[in-house]
């Protein structure tokens, strides 16, 4: 059972990490609470479904195309809908909720409410300490780790990363230091949506594609971000794995209560908000600029 919990926790934690880091990144840089974040994940899943199942193209081509198209769409959405209202945080929050629902309704109209799926890149499973592990799960885990490593290098070892981190630290000062804050925000939005799309791309063979598939991850992602600290990338990473393991523990230790993983995530979120509102690695609200 321990191996089961370990594998399940690592896979779910990695998926939540990708989603939460993207969400945290754009919040940290531009204070944009993008509720439509997981809706982009859903769009990427549909894009892959369409390219593989309807056009019959290679899944790898589908994944690359999906990430590029959805990232492009994210940038267009940012320019048209978010940028004009980004100084009003409440308006952004409400606007992105509306945006997510609009995306859901469009997918519902185009693809109907039927549940869909896409094939695994590698079929089958291998036994690991008596537990059957899908090759696709292993592949997903490796891709997530590589992506997280690439993101870490981008943020910590490049000039662009420095600009992003500086803007996240203090937007005004970064601007005064000569950084093009608007451009950095735009790039951060691209990376953020790109990460959501990539999550959709790597997870879709393990998931069920439906217009409502963005809702469950949104709740867990919000819980992860609150746990780790809003705007903290390190916090999101650690919070994601904590949540992934908590979820695995619930599923394995309480068979009759496997459905409780969502409520557990929400309870964690509420507890953290009550006890330590800034999360594990976030900035305390009163200390915020």
């Amino acid at each position: 059972m321990a191996v089961n919990i370990l594998i399940s926790g690592l896979i779910s934690g990695s998926m939540y990490a990708l989603l939460a880091i993207g969400f945290s990144l754009i919040f940290g840089v531009a204070r944009i609470v993008n509720i439509a974040h997981t809706a982009f994940y859903m769009l990427a899943a549909y894009c892959i479904f369409f390219i593989t199942e309807k056009m019959g193209l290679n899944p790898i081509i589908a994944m690359v195309t999906a990430v590029l198209l959805v990232t492009l769409l994210g940038l267009i959405v940012y320019m048209l809908f978010i940028k004009p209202i980004r100084e009003h945080e409440a308006a952004v929050l409400i606007g992105t909720i509306a945006l997510a629902i609009a995306m859901q309704e469009v997918m519902l109209l185009v693809f109907s409410g039927s549940f869909r799926s896409v094939p695994s890149l590698i079929d089958g499973y291998f036994p690991l300490l008596g537990v059957k592990v899908f090759y696709q799960q292993l592949l997903t885990f490796i891709v997530v780790l590589l992506t997280l490593a690439a993101l870490w290098i981008l943020l910590m070892k490049t000039k662009l990363g420095l600009a992003v981190r500086s803007t996240a630290e203090d937007r005004e000062v970064a601007n005064l230091m000569g950084m093009n804050e608007s451009r950095v925000t735009m790039i951060a939005m691209g990376i953020s949506v790109g990460l959501a799309a990539l999550t959709g791309a790597v997870v879709v063979p393990l998931a069920i594609v439906s217009p409502f598939m963005w809702m469950d991850p949104l709740i867990i992602m919000m819980a992860v971000v609150v746990l780790g600290g809003l705007g903290s990338i390190k916090g999101s990473f650690i919070g994601a794995y904590m949540m992934g393991f908590a979820e695995a523990l619930v599923v394995f230790l309480i068979p009759k209560g496997a459905f409780l993983k969502g409520p557990v995530a929400l309870s964690v979120m509420i507890l953290v908000l009550l006890i330590r509102p800034e999360g594990l690695f976030g900035v305390a609200f009163e200390e915020e600029r």
Partner: protein, 439 residues
């Protein structure tokens, strides 16, 4: 005298056109049938397709004879959106009755939504034939308050009490096959039910009935209805050494479960309710891993309840390219339920039609309809279940094709004749299950 302006003329013309669009076609020789369902989902699509086939068949013969005139059927589509919002369903019902002025209504899917829509239809004394919800409460209302609810009839499926009963009969049938084929003294059953209110009484019934049926209960697992990973549950089931998994699924978890169980080759057969497995798209949705899954079903191409089944099922497949689901019984409701009753009544008067319809015993594509009376002799407008009436079938995915496997020499009670529908094939045990228990 004031000069009439161009703008004024346009305004009057627009008002006239809008008026023509808004007001019903009074006196027109059409019978308006409202088809209400979640139109963006497969259930609503089936509601509509079934109704469309019935309307076309009736209209191609000139319509329905009502007194001394022939009246054609005109369908009015209403999206209840009941999966997402029950208020949308009640609004849609209100709209088709008050604005579209429908004469009859068929459709509905979720019991919660149909309960709400039922009251609106009854307020307006409109005959409403439910083609989706299984809650017994819907027909209990007819018995308890006949004066108000007599306009409600169940079209499909039979009520959830009988759905459960049929599932347990199918479970016992497969249990007997397993016992013999695997050479085991007792079959161990794992119950896996999605977390939904409708599944709770079935779990309770399973816990009570499985030991009485001579089987052992291995445990109960409750994944979320939208779970995308059930490997944990499958591992636990494998560890429990269950040979049979009794599934109670209506949502997407039915796909996830079948796909992952098939991919991991869990040595246990699946029997029970899996709504997603009833759909032709199940094979693709499970990425061809859903073989050997067995579920309670209504239609399966090649399986005939009577001489009317093939005409409907084959016609549906030919026209829409897929096997109908039980919600497509709007076809039966209109063609075999409403149309002959209206002709017999010679009027569209709802009270007269109700008094004839509730007494009729008639064949449709899924068996024979006879509306039940309760133990106090009160009309319920619920469907009679059992051999000779409606029973449903058990279908199993075999080599990517849905095949009818139950009833196969089924004896409903001691001394009763055997029941086997034409087109039924033997049940197949997955090879990896046979392999796991090979001695």
């Amino acid at each position: 005298m004031k000069k009439i302006t161009f703008g004024g003329v346009v305004l009057v013309a627009v008002c006239l056109v809008m008026g023509m669009m808004t007001f019903p076609s009074w006196g027109a020789d059409v019978i308006k049938v409202g088809v209400i369902g979640p139109m963006n989902f497969v259930q609503g699509k089936n509601h509509w397709n079934g109704a469309l086939m019935a309307a076309d068949e009736i209209n191609s013969k000139g319509g329905i004879q009502v007194g001394n005139k022939k009246m054609k059927i005109e369908l009015v589509k209403a999206d209840s959106n009941e999966f997402l919002n029950i208020t949308d369903a009640t609004n849609a019902m209100q709209r088709i009755i008050t604005r579209d002025k429908v004469d009859f209504i068929v459709g509905g899917f979720r019991s919660e939504a149909v309960l709400a829509m039922q009251d609106i239809a009854m307020d307006y004394k409109k005959i409403f034939i439910d083609c989706g919800a299984a809650a017994p409460e819907l027909c209990q209302k007819v018995a308890d308050d006949y004066g108000r609810y007599k306009y409600f009839f169940r079209g499909t499926p039979f009520n959830s009490h009988y759905l459960g009963k049929t599932c347990f009969i199918q479970m016992a049938t497969v249990g007997a096959i397993l016992k013999k084929a695997l050479g085991i003294p007792q079959v161990k059953v794992a119950v896996v039910a999605e977390k939904a209110m409708w599944a709770d009484p079935m779990i309770k019934a399973a816990q009570g009935l499985i030991p009485k049926m001579g089987m052992e209960l291995a445990g109960v697992w409750r994944p979320s209805a939208t779970a995308t990973d059930v490997t944990a549950i499958l591992s636990a089931i494998q560890s429990s050494h269950a040979q049979m998994i009794f599934t109670i699924f209506s949502a997407s978890v039915g796909i996830t479960f079948a796909r992952q169980a098939g991919e991991l080759k869990i040595p246990a057969v699946q029997v029970g309710i899996n709504v997603e497995a009833q759909k032709d798209g199940f094979w693709e949705a499970t990425q061809k891993k859903g073989d050997y899954v067995m579920q309670l079903d209504t239609y399966c191409q090649g399986v005939n309840y009577n001489d009317l089944t093939a005409h409907f099922v084959d016609g549906y497949v030919k026209r829409f390219g897929e096997t109908p689901e039980y919600n497509a019984a709007t076809y039966d409701a209109i063609l075999y339920g409403l149309a002959p009753t209206i002709e017999q009544a010679g009027t569209l008067d709802a009270d007269k039609i109700v008094s004839i319809l509730e007494k009729r015993v008639y064949k449709n594509s899924a068996g024979t309809v006879k509306y039940m009376v309760d133990d106090k002799g009160r009309q319920t407008h619920d469907l009679t279940w059992g051999p000779g009436y409606e029973t449903g079938i058990g279908a199993q995915w075999q080599n990517g094709k849905k095949m009818g496997v139950w009833p196969n020499h089924w004896v409903a009670a001691k001394g009763a004749p055997e029941v086997t529908y034409s087109g039924i094939v033997p049940y197949k045990i997955p090879p990896w299950v046979l392999e796991a228990y090979k001695k």
